[in-house]
Amino acid sequence: MTQELAIEAKALVKQFDGFRAVDGVDLAVPAGAIYGVLGPNGAGKTTTLRMLLGIIDPDSGERKVLGNRQPLRAANRIGYLPEERGLYPTMQAREAIAFMGALRGLKLGEARERADRLLAEHGLAEAARKPIRTLSKGMAQTVQILGTIVHQPRLIVLDEPFSGLDAINQERLEVMIRAQVDTGATVLFSTHVIAHAERLCERIAIIVGGRVRFEGSVAEARGRLQAQVTLVTRRTEGGWRAALPADARCENGAWIFPLPENGIEPLLARLIEGEAGIEALSIERPGLHDAFVEIVGEAAAQGIRKEPEPE
């Protein structure tokens, strides 16, 4: 059975003054998933999201968002938090949320009711009638996030949602994202902080130099790298050393090498047989961070893309 897709993008290209910001991006975001778009700064994440939302049109390629080739036609079912937060400083918090709801098709009265309810649920009832400029940065950001979900969208697109938030608010946002997915919404977010993606995402795309360098599950990304074995022995010499892989290296009295393809058990048997005197042995699975660094490094080694010609 084919999985329903909330977003489908094929070969998206966007060029600014001879510079290919996005260079053939393919994405397939399953409905109901939390999907992460990862990449270093300037990788083309924001431009990709803007194209998916219909804020800008691609130079070439196709996109389908919630079944619409024209994303703005589905705008009332989409919530968007841009990277650079934007709120009118003189507007009251409830009015700001209601305004964003009204933009997405809610009637103003209903949008205000929902705004009051959301603010109360998030402990900001007292801030409801305060102008945005008087709120703390964290509170203002929460107001903006509430404005993103006030119309109960089926697709929520968050561009670097965790930037500028303290640890407590980051945690709250993670909870909020999971809660939205529990209601059946799809969440697509971009980040360059890998830990959030590792905790939240079922699938990720890593974009480097305007191209998708990896697309798959977090486990698949981590699986690209071999686990690392760290071995500490009492004896430094002996026949057991011949059992170590050829690429093993000694650092601060510990042997470090990739986990052999046939597993650790045959090696362990030979170490015991050779009386190496195993003091400590650990197998460390690589994290998403390591996979990300590896993928970005590979892209850099290949020469990411040509810089624009000076005009």
């Binding site: 600014f16 003054d17 510079f19 910001a21 300037g42 934007g86 009118y88 964003m100």
Partner: protein, 404 residues
């Protein structure tokens, strides 16, 4: 289409409320007071500068009977010439002329009455006022003679009968009204387009524009902004008009207003002026908004808006130069050129009574407004979110940048 209109109205409502409830709107309302205050201040200074110094005092040494006749003549002359043109006359029964002049009690002294009067004083006063003093003394002598002869003259009551102002005078009044209407139109359009640009810059700098663009088509944002400013300006105009009407009713007689009535009549003139203001604002505002969207900073906005401001002034000058030749080629050209058409037609409404040219002009302006809005919206759409890309104007001034 309906969804776009709804979205435009949501944006317009937000912008309208935010603007009308701001300090900027109070300043906007007070805007017309600035030229009035300037006018009053410089008018007062000017009149003070041009006002003659206090009239000199001339002492007339005369007997009681002569003095009485002289006072009567003095009053008559003041009625005709006003006090400012006449020296202050002080009549004394006697005194030493040299002493009076030395002590600066008077600029001149008349002695030798009744038969050999002499006006003695500084040359400037003597030469300037000799004829007047002669006239006073002659009249006083005649009055005394009539008095002595027992002849009593009865004042003649003159009936006043007003006729309508001659045609050339009415034309002058209407020409003045036409120019005033054009000036007001220019003033309002310039203020509003400036406010429109500031509003958009605020939006770009607060990054709200991206949220709007993700939710509604850029055309709806563009229309919403135009509608909001138009609503705001019509609110301002309604407030100004009410204040002006109250002031006129309180201080200016209705007959005076009737005497300077525009050719199409006041109600039609006010209605046409409002329509032409809307057309002028939309024509210039759409262009400002479209070109202003190319700018990334306030400085760029200033750089880009300067040629547009000059353009507005040139267009205004073109229409103003055709005021006195309403059916001449210049006037027709000004009526046809989209940006000068509202100025030319407001002048025509003041000077010519026909309505049909206005119906044609309104239809033409509506078509050009629709076209210019389309062009402005396209420019706006292409540029407003290009925080990373360099548009035509930015290229022109040598900027470039990268995508996010």
């Amino acid at each position: 289409m309906l969804a776009n209109l709804r979205a435009a109205l949501v944006i317009a409502r937000r912008d309208y409320v935010a603007t009308v409830w701001s300090r900027a709107f109070i300043l906007f309302l007070l805007g017309p007071l600035i030229p009035i205050l300037f006018g009053m201040t410089f008018g007062t200074v000017g009149s003070k500068m041009s006002a003659p110094s206090a009239p000199p005092t001339i002492v007339i040494l005369a007997s009681d009977s002569e003095a009485q006749a002289l006072q009567g003549v003095r009053r008559r002359i003041s009625t005709i010439l006003g006090d400012e043109g006449v020296p202050r006359i002080e009549i004394r029964p006697g005194g030493n002329p040299a002493h009076i002049l030395e002590n600066d009690e008077a600029a001149a002294v008349v002695t030798g009455l009744p038969d050999r009067p002499v006006l003695r004083g500084v040359p400037e006063v003597v030469s300037r006022h000799a004829a007047l003093i002669e006239w006073m003394l002659s009249d006083a002598r005649r009055d005394r003679a009539l008095d002595k002869a027992g002849i009593v003259t009865r004042p003649i009551a003159l009936k006043q009968d007003f006729i309508a102002a001659p045609r050339h005078s009415e034309q002058n009044d209407r020409s003045t009204l036409a120019r005033a209407g054009q000036l007001l139109l220019l003033f309002l359009t310039m203020i509003l387009t400036g406010m429109l640009l500031s509003n958009m810059m605020e939006e770009k700098s607060s990054k709200v524009i991206e949220i709007l663009a993700a939710a509604v088509p850029v055309d709806a944002i563009f229309m919403g902004k135009l509608i909001a400013m138009l609503g705001m300006s019509l609110t301002g105009i309604a407030i100004w008009a009410s204040a002006a009407a109250a002031a006129l009713l309180a201080f200016v007689p209705v007959s005076a207003l009737e005497m300077i009535a525009p050719a199409v009549g006041w109600p039609m003139f006010i209605m046409l002026s409002t329509i032409y203001f809307m057309a002028s604002y939309l024509l210039v505002g759409a262009l400002y908004l479209g070109i202003g969207a190319q700018a990334g900073t306030v400085r760029e906005v200033q750089t880009l808006s300067m040629p547009l401001t000059f353009g507005q002034l040139i267009v205004f000058g073109f229409a103003a130069s055709a005021v006195d030749q309403t059916n001449g080629p210049a006037s027709i050209a000004a009526s046809l050129f989209p940006w000068s058409s509202p100025y030319a037609m407001i002048a025509r409404a003041a000077q010519q009574p026909e309505i049909w040219p206005h119906l044609l002009a309104i239809a033409w302006q509506a078509a050009t407004v629709a076209m210019i809005i389309r062009v402005g919206a396209n420019l706006f759409r292409r540029s407003v979110l290009k925080s990373g890309g360099a548009g035509f104007w930015r290229k022109l001034i040598g900027r470039s940048s990268r995508a996010a």
